[in-house]
Each structure stands twice: as C-alpha cells, then as structure tokens.
Symmetry: C2
Subunit: 408 residues, 2 copies
C-alpha cells in the first residue's frame, strides 16, 4: 500500500477575501481533546457560543448558533427553511453572491424576482424599497458585502420596508461579520448569516446564523414530527415541510435548545475554533475591530495608489475588507499571482465571471489584516510588477502605507 507523509503545509501570508490566516490561538483550540456531544462540559460550550454570537450579531434574538457546514450551508439553511415552495422572493443582485441567492431561491421552489445593478456598484436603498412595495414578496434575500466586486450594500432602511409588507429579510453577511458593522436588530434584519473564514478569521467549516421571532414563526409553521415519534393525531404545520433535514432550522434549534433533541453530531473541534475565534473578536471589541480593518484598508489603498495602480468599482460603496485592483494593461494577472505565491509566499485572489482576468482582489480580513502583512504585500507586488516589465514608481508604495500607519 502506498504510504503518505504527515502533513507539513507551508506558511503563507494569505491576503485573499477568504479563507484568511487563522490566529494561532484558534488553531491551538482545535487541537484540544474532544468531548462527547452531550457531555455537560460540551453543552456548556454550546451555550456560551450562542451567547457570544448574539453579541457578535448585535442582537437580542434567542437564536444565534452555527450551522455545521461552510458559509454556503448557512445561506441554504436560512433560505430552505424560510422560503416555502411557491413563495415570492426578491433578490437584488450586484455580484456573484447575489446570483447564488437567486439560485438557492430557485432550488427552494420559489417564484424569484430580481433587481440587477452593473457589477462594481450597489443599489440605492430606495430602489429596493420600491420593489418591495410593488412586488410584495414573501422573502427578500440580499448580500451585504459582495466579495466578488468588493462592494457593500447599505441595509439600514430595507428591514422597515419588509415589515410594512410582512416580508422576511434574509441577509448574507458572510464577508462582513466581524469586519464591518452588521446591526441585526437596529437594521431590522430577520435572518443573518455570517462566515467563519473571512473577517472572523476562523477556518472554514461553520456558518454562524441568527434569526428573530418573525423568522422563527415561519419555521414553526413548517415543523414536522419525525417518523417513529409521530402519533396518529399529530398534525404537521400549515406550510409544507422543509425540503432538507440537515438544514431544517426547526430541528437545528431543538438541538441547540435546552431540550438537546439529537439531530446531527455537533462538530466538536470546529465549535472549539468558533468559540475561540469569536472570543478573540469580543476581546478586541467590535468597534475597535472595525476601526482596525479600516486602518489596514487605508494603508493598503494608499500603497496601491502610490504604486500607480487603479482601483476597481464605485468608491462610494467600497467594502473595507476587500480591495479590487485593475490588472494593468499588458500584465498577465495569473502570472503575477503565481510569482507572489511561489517566491514570496503571499496569496491574493483572482476574480469571477465578467471580472475574470480583469481585477485582483486583496483581502484585509481578521488576523490577516496586520501591518506587516500589508507592507510585505506592497513590497512584493511592486517587485513582481517590475519583474513583469510594468513601470512602477519604485519605493513609494511601502512609504505611503507607513505614512498611514504613523498617523494612526
């Protein structure tokens, strides 16, 4: 039988919009011995994690817990549980992840209506509000931070319009939670999904979500009683049963409740990582963390601009934690990325769909958003561009970034 070597991954400086570097304290938490899922010590950790997540989401919601899968699993859990087949769903799209919400809604059997904006911009909230008033959807699903284009959609006025029409508002905050403000209660968001591997800087593998009583009411209307427990007179809810067992929020919340009704086996080590990662976020403080992300973005942007590079997209709605750079004329974007990785150990991201080959995307997220990383990337990118024959005003980028750091 072929023998395989123990793992020994290289140390990377990861400046993509996720996954990003993980604080060694979070990695260390993952190496702790596991507990059984009904061990009182473990259920205590589950409860503490819920408590921390409420603070992170800025909510008083009862329900705030992780879905056991990558970020996309949290999106699907919210969509499939809150969208009944035949529901009218409005999806404003301004990048790739709006398209994903559209696809998820279609697979839920919804009647989907879209609004579209050219990539690189976002919607004036009024446009979404008007569409809600005229379409009267059952559910509105919208992306907060769109990593494909590096834009952030203002959301503080959408929730009120949804309540007026009795629609539920589902928000994809995968890219923003822990990096820029996400105000679940103040913005009247009914369900919010975060991601671990972006601004929380935890390995991919869980999707923290929260939802309020309005959302829970719909979930409870879809409640099914499991075979074997079902009695002759037991009636199911008035709406069709959720199409997924794994993503049925009604069953997940029973598992996360004091009842501990067994569903799946909780991901012990990932939960350790989530708890430790969110603990570090709360120790830093949400406001301080948002300020820190802004600082590293400013230093990065100052450096890139000083180097003579042009940023992509509408600057009014730039997402703090992702910076999109137009690949200069005549430069092979992939060759630059490869050289950054192979010679400097630095990873930046390429792009999707209509932007493929047109822009690079640089993340300043979580533990990766550090002064030494930003300076290292700027110096390396300058060197690689020079190596590729691109004219760069040498030496200015790192100086410009240092100027930002020295003012702070």
């Amino acid at each position: 039988m072929k023998r395989f070597e123990p793992l020994s991954p290289s140390l990377r400086c990861i400046m993509t919009p996720g996954p990003v570097e993980v604080d060694p304290r979070v990695l260390r938490a993952m190496s702790l011995p596991v507990l059984g899922q009904f061990d009182p010590e473990f259920t205590h950790i589950m409860n503490e994690t819920m408590e921390m997540l409420r603070t992170l989401f800025a909510t008083k919601n009862q329900w705030a817990y992780p879905v056991d899968g990558t970020s996309r699993s949290g999106l699907e859990a919210a969509m499939v549980s809150l969208i009944a087949p035949g529901d009218r769903v409005l999806v404003p799209i301004f990048g790739r992840f709006g398209n994903l919400l559209h696809e998820l809604a279609e697979r839920c059997g919804a009647e989907v209506f879209t609004l579209e904006r050219p990539w690189g911009g976002v919607f004036p909230q009024e446009e979404i509000v008007e569409a809600i008033r005229s379409l009267k959807p059952d559910v509105v699903a919208v992306v907060h931070g769109e990593t494909s284009t590096g834009r952030v959609q203002p959301l503080d006025r959408i929730g009120a319009a949804c309540r007026e029409q009795d629609a539920l508002l589902i928000v994809d905050a995968v890219a923003t939670l822990g990096g820029v403000p996400v105000e679940t209660d103040a913005w009247m968001l009914d369900a919010v999904i975060g991601g671990t591997q972006k601004c929380l800087s935890i390995p991919a593998g869980m999707a923290p979500i929260t939802y309020n009583d309005r959302a829970e009411a719909k979930v409870l209307k879809r409640k099914a009683i499991e075979r074997g427990l079902r009695t002759a007179d037991a009636a199911n809810g008035e709406l069709p049963v959720v199409r997924s067992n794994y993503f049925d929020l009604g069953m997940l919340q029973d598992y996360w409740s004091a009842q501990r009704l067994n569903h799946h086996t909780e991901m012990t080590s990932m939960l350790y990582a989530l708890r430790e990662g969110v603990r570090l976020v709360l120790e830093e403080g949400l406001a301080a963390r948002h300020t820190r992300h802004k600082l590293h973005e400013q230093a990065l942007v100052a450096g890139l601009t000083a180097m003579g590079l042009e940023l992509y997209g509408d600057s009014d709605c730039k997402l703090t934690v992702v910076t999109c750079v137009i690949i200069p004329e005549g430069i092979d974007g992939e060759a630059v990325r490869t050289m950054l990785l192979e010679h400097f150990g630095i990873e930046i991201a390429s792009s999707f769909g209509p932007l493929k080959g047109m822009i690079w995307r640089i993340g300043t997220m979580g533990f990766s958003a550090r002064e030494n990383n930003v300076l290292r990337l700027l110096g390396a990118l300058e060197a690689v561009l020079l190596r590729h024959g691109h004219t760069v005003a040498s030496g200015l980028a790192v100086q410009a970034a240092l100027d930002v750091y020295e003012v702070k």
Copy 2:
C-alpha cells in the same frame, strides 16, 4: 462586555458509538496553519485525500471525497442527488438510522416503501432481494451498521439484485467505515457514506462518500448550469435539478475535479484532520484494524458477561464496534452514566426511542478502542454498579478481559 475564558476541556475516556477520542496526531494536524483553497499545495492535499479514500472504501470509483458537514450531510447529499422527486425508494428499517433514511427520502419527494424488522435484528438478505424484485424501486437506501441497536446488516447480495432491476443502492456506512469491512466494489454498492467521528476517530465535521459511474450518470442527468454562466441554448438535464445547491453532487464533483470549479470554500482544517486520520488508518492497514476492533469487542464482551450483565439483541448480527447492554432491573441507567462521567471521566451512551432507558451502548471505535480504555471502563462500571446496590461478582470482569488480551 462579559469576558470568556480560553477553552480547557477535561480529558475524557469516550466509549460511546461516536463521537470518540481522537488520536493526538490528528488533533495536531488541525492546529497547522491554513492554506488558501486554490493554493497548489492545498489542491494536492485534496487529491491525496481522494486517493486515500478510494483505498478506505475498497473501490476503484473515480469519486471519493468528503462532503463538508457532519455524517448526516453525506447521507443527505447522496439521497437528494440520487433521488429525483417521484422516484420509488425502498428503505429497509431495523433501527433509528433506517428511519432517518426514510425521512430523507420523503423530503426528497420520493414515493417511499419500507420493510421493517423489530429492533435488535436485521434482515435476511433474501427478504430485501425479493422486495426489490417485486417493488422495482429506483433507489434502495439501507443502513450497514445501525448504532441505535448495535446490529450489522449483511449487504453482499443486495447490490446484484439492484443492478438486475436497474435500481441504485445507497449505503449508510457511517458507523462501520474503518471499523468493519465495507467492500464498495465487491458488494456492488452504488453510493456509500462514511462518518468521521466513529471508527475513523476524527472529529465530526466531514462525511467521506464514494459513488460509481451508475450513480454519476443519474447525477449528470440532473445537472444545471448556474445562472450567469447559462447561455440561451443551454439545456438542463432530463431529470429535475437537485433541490439543494450545497448537496448537489454534480457541483461538488466539479469542485473536486481538476477543473476546480468553485463551489464552497473547502474546510481547510477539517480536511487536514481527515487526511491525517485516514492516513493513520491506512498505516495500520484495514485488515489489521478490523482485527483490532474485533479484539477489543471480545475483551469488552467477556468482561461485561463475567460481571453478570446481559447483552441486548440478536448475537448473530452483532456489530463489532457497538455493544448494547441491558440495564439491570432496578438500576437507573442515567445515574450510572452520570457517575461514570463525573467520578471516572468515562462516557458511555444512552439510547433512543423504544430502547430509551432500557440499554446502554458502549463503543469500541477507532482510537478509543484501546486495551487501557476497555479495562478502565470495566473496572469503573463494576464499581459504579456496586455503588448503586447491584450485586456484581466482584473482580471478575477485568480478569476476563485480560484473559482475552493475553491470548491474542
């Protein structure tokens, strides 16, 4: 803001049918720094993991990769991708996890037919074969190792009957993979789902699956082209699109193929754990590992029997890796479990549904299946039973187990 302490879980001896203790080498792998998901070093790890999984599943199938979620996610991925709405699905049920397959099939929109056996036994294969011939289902879904009752269903003759009727055979090997033989190709299983937190002794969080060309053909008939990439003349497959995006095997296999078509963000650290865990299984050797599991079961059974305890269920189909013990008359099973945990740091499992309060379930799985664990449990259980006023022939249990170990 409330402050939370760093994690510091107690060290437990976990003798449940999952999750079980994890080899420190696997835990250490989880603490390694992460790589980006398209880093060539990372995609190499993905490819190596697929190669290892093929050996583990005893298959030449092209597709063998993890679904990113707990074991149940692998079951749902196989079911939702291979069962089209309206399909006829046969589910033989002999415990809780057969009921789960039934529920998953219902949520897929299938017409579900069941065979049922009293808990504690399994089906003569002929009974399933006859049902396949008379019902002519599109899909048969069956549990291999039923942890709720500690039974193992022989499967070597079901696959041929399925091919005769052009049905697909989906097997839940969550509890057996890595502990007792699972012969994907030799038994003609079309799709097999394993679990990490049982005999593989890896933390819960991934579900290794494999499926053959027959299964893939059905997946490809359900292929959808994602919005944004879809052209006017693009036709979808002849069968309805898979209801889930996250669990669509067509999209998952594109991500795991050389194409690397982006789907979710791979769970970096969980994949490290899976690779290291499976690496250790292959180093030990599958045959040696099965023998080891058998040995610890024999020692455990010898000890329990010597103590005067009675085992539950039909001994002809006892699952090596789970031993079900009838709780003696007058003993509060939960009080015994609590005392084992609180005073001895040992966890054994309770049970579900009709067996609730009637039996304990003891796992001998993966890294937990060690001589010192078995001896420690037997000594502790004897002491706790004595403490609860149950008459036990003192001192015999550990001696009986030692007899087994000394003969080996």
